[in-house]
């Protein structure tokens, strides 16, 4: 799967797509692959304040729970309600329809600290090398 060039990425494998001060946040294809079949997603309610680098929700597979870390600080304006009934979308379409939350950014300058697609792809290819070593 390709990593959309317009997105920004974290080392914990979240992505963020910012348009007009509103960020859409999800987890990457690499992350869903590492997790395996997703069975449940827990997301914050609209109005919740999230803080960069802090966990704002969890994604569960049958035998693991992963925290999702905020790529930026801000206030949640919407959570993807569809994932409650169809968590499997996170496995099939992690970069689009399986977005997790939309956030009003508190400090757009935070984006500068994130990786672009190229840097992220280099980062995960390094990870894959480590794993097979």
């Amino acid at each position: 799967m390709t990593y959309p060039p317009s997105y920004r990425y974290t080392q914990q494998h979240e992505w963020i797509d910012v348009k007009d001060g509103l960020g859409t946040i999800g987890i990457t294809d690499y992350a869903q692959h590492e997790l395996g079949d997703v069975v449940f997603v827990e997301l914050p309610k609209p109005g919740t304040k999230i803080q960069v680098g802090k966990s704002f929700g969890t994604v569960e597979s049958v035998k693991a729970v992963s925290e999702i870390y905020a790529p930026v600080s801000g206030e949640v304006v919407e959570a993807n309600a569809e994932l409650e009934a169809t968590p499997e979308k996170l496995n099939s379409d992690p970069h689009n329809s399986a977005w997790l939350i939309r956030v009003k950014l508190a400090d757009p300058a935070e984006l500068a600290k994130l990786m672009d697609a190229k840097a992220y792809e280099a980062y995960i290819s390094e990870k894959n090398k480590e794993a097979s070593a």
């Binding site: 079949d37 069975v39 449940f40 569960e60 597979s61 049958v62 035998k63 968590p87 499997e88």
Partner: protein, 503 residues
């Protein structure tokens, strides 16, 4: 024994529907003696609380149907009674049947926890003798038998520590837990009101004593240690660890899940341990029963005694025993009544059968585990090479090169007639195979297990698909756990098409 003897072969397994699906109105399996007093008018005396319709969809079946239903279900289980059950950390040993008999005696099973203590001296003597035996085995000063299981024992132990530190003026904030620990340890620490600080094991899988020195501050209430560790390796520097804690006013908690490696050999009381729990359903052979009941007695040093949960057993003049609930400094109750008494009876019966000879059980348990380790060393990867005791932890590193993981090997073991070992634990070993044979296995059973493991390793190299799709001989194949978790069906419900639900 014939050279061609194989442990497993196949036989017919009977299908059986849910009890609700074989129910039909008007049948019953239990009759009461006739009512010998005037029948109450339930609708009148209960008024608006009367459950007119009874319990809807409750089963209605005859006695033989109930017996057959559960007998058929039972044949779908593996059990210690069928063979080796090498689940690491679980100590699945033989469950002597005399223990079941004595726990069911009239005068034992029939006793009510609130009956007068002068009519309970037999029960109290059983509790007293078990307390004395467990104190002798652990080398500790005082004990409570109230906790219902290991996790509740852990909670009791941490609450004792908290009460003790509180009395010194500060309950402190943190509990240190090694990354190799059971999941109950961190979960328990949180309930006891502590933050968990995980500590990384050093390269041999042991506690990093030098690092611990830095970690133990005035904020630390306790360290929870499992000894031998979940790798089956004894922590030789335990007294030093205790000393580091004690110098900073913190205490040492020992998870006694692995006492099967130590009983009769050494005693936690001499190693600086301040408080520990025992799992009677592990070391002391009370049956696991498919997941309980258990009992998790907590043994402690004198300094913690005043804080024991109530009631505590005391001895009066003339040897009369009493349960005393009037303890000013007690942490309170952790469960109702005096603990899982029926489990305590079984554990005492087990100890009495051995007496001091219980050391032989420990020796055999360690001999079996070491024998299996020696025989499989060249076949499976051994991530930690220090000598192990009652259990041994391999990893699937070699088999993984062919795409076969620990769970696949475990499932394939089923086809060879064994219960799997513990998979994927401890967390510090990726792809762990955690094997604990216990003392209850003969040399022959150990040899069959070794042969099976070698054969599976061979298959993993030559026919990995066979292993990855195992088991091939069970009544159900691998089950869809993802589907079960995504759309949970947690109960049966009456549906119009009920007769088609059968298998």
């Amino acid at each position: 024994m014939s050279e061609h003897f194989k442990k497993a072969s196949q036989h017919v397994s009977q299908n059986e529907r849910l009890i609700f699906e074989i129910s039909s109105p008007g049948k019953r399996a239990f009759e009461l003696p006739p009512l010998d007093v005037p029948a109450a008018d339930a609708a009148r005396v209960l008024g608006r609380y009367h459950r007119h319709e009874g319990v809807s969809d409750f089963p209605e079946v005859s006695e033989i149907e109930v017996l057959r239903h559960f007998t058929r279900l039972s044949t779908w289980n593996y059990a210690i009674d069928l063979g080796m059950y090498p689940l690491g950390s679980c100590t699945m040993k033989y469950n002597p049947r005399v223990n079941e008999l004595v726990a069911r005696l009239d005068g034992i099973a029939t006793e009510h926890p609130y009956q007068p203590q002068e009519l309970s001296q037999g029960c109290l003597k059983i509790i007293k003798l078990l307390e004395d035996c467990l104190l002798e085995i652990t080398g500790m000063d005082s004990i409570t038998l109230q906790p219902a299981a290991g996790a509740q024992g852990e909670l009791t132990g941490l609450l004792l520590i908290r009460a003790y530190l509180q009395k010194q003026g500060n309950p402190r904030k943190k509990v240190l837990i090694p990354d190799s620990a059971h999941g109950t340890n961190p979960a328990t620490a949180v309930i006891a009101g502590y933050q968990v600080e995980n500590i990384k094991s050093e390269s041999h899988g042991q506690i990093d004593v030098e690092k611990l020195r830095d970690l133990v501050t005035e904020d630390v209430a306790a360290l929870m240690i499992t000894n031998p560790s979940t790798l089956g390796i004894f922590e030789p520097r335990i007294a030093e660890i205790a000393d580091i804690l004690h110098r900073k006013g913190a205490l040492l908690y020992m998870d006694g899940a692995n006492m099967n490696a130590l009983t009769g050999i050494t005693r936690p009381g001499v190693m600086g341990v301040d408080v520990m729990h025992l799992n009677l359903h592990k070391t002391f052979s009370t049956p696991h029963g498919g997941g309980g009941p258990g009992a998790g007695p907590v043994a402690m040093k004198r300094i913690l005694e005043p804080f024991r949960p109530t009631p505590v057993l005391i001895e009066k003049d003339g040897g009369r025993l009493l349960l005393d609930a009037n303890r000013r400094e007690s942490i309170g109750r952790v469960k109702a009544f005096a603990g899982n008494f029926g489990v305590l009876v079984r554990a005492l019966a087990y100890i009495l059968a051995y007496g001091p000879g219980i050391r032989q059980a420990t020796e055999d348990a360690v001999l079996n585990a070491t024998y299996i380790r020696k025989n499989l060393e060249g076949v499976f990867e051994l991530p930690y090479s220090l000598p192990s005791m009652h259990e041994v932890v391999f990893s699937d590193a070699r088999q993984k090169q062919n795409g076969v993981n620990t769970m696949d090997i475990a499932k394939r073991l089923i086809d060879y007639g064994f219960h799997p070992y513990t998979t994927a634990f401890p967390l510090i070993v990726p792809g762990a195979l955690m094997i604990e044979p216990t003392e209850s296995e003969s040399k022959e059973e150990c040899d069959l297990f070794i042969d099976a493991m070698k054969s599976i390793a061979q298959e993993a190299a030559t026919n990995p698909q066979l292993v990855k799709t195992a088991p091939h001989t069970t009544r159900v194949g691998r089950l869809d756990e993802v589907g079960a978790a995504r759309k949970p069906i947690l109960r049966w419900k009456q549906t119009p098409a009920r007769s088609e639900a059968a298998d």
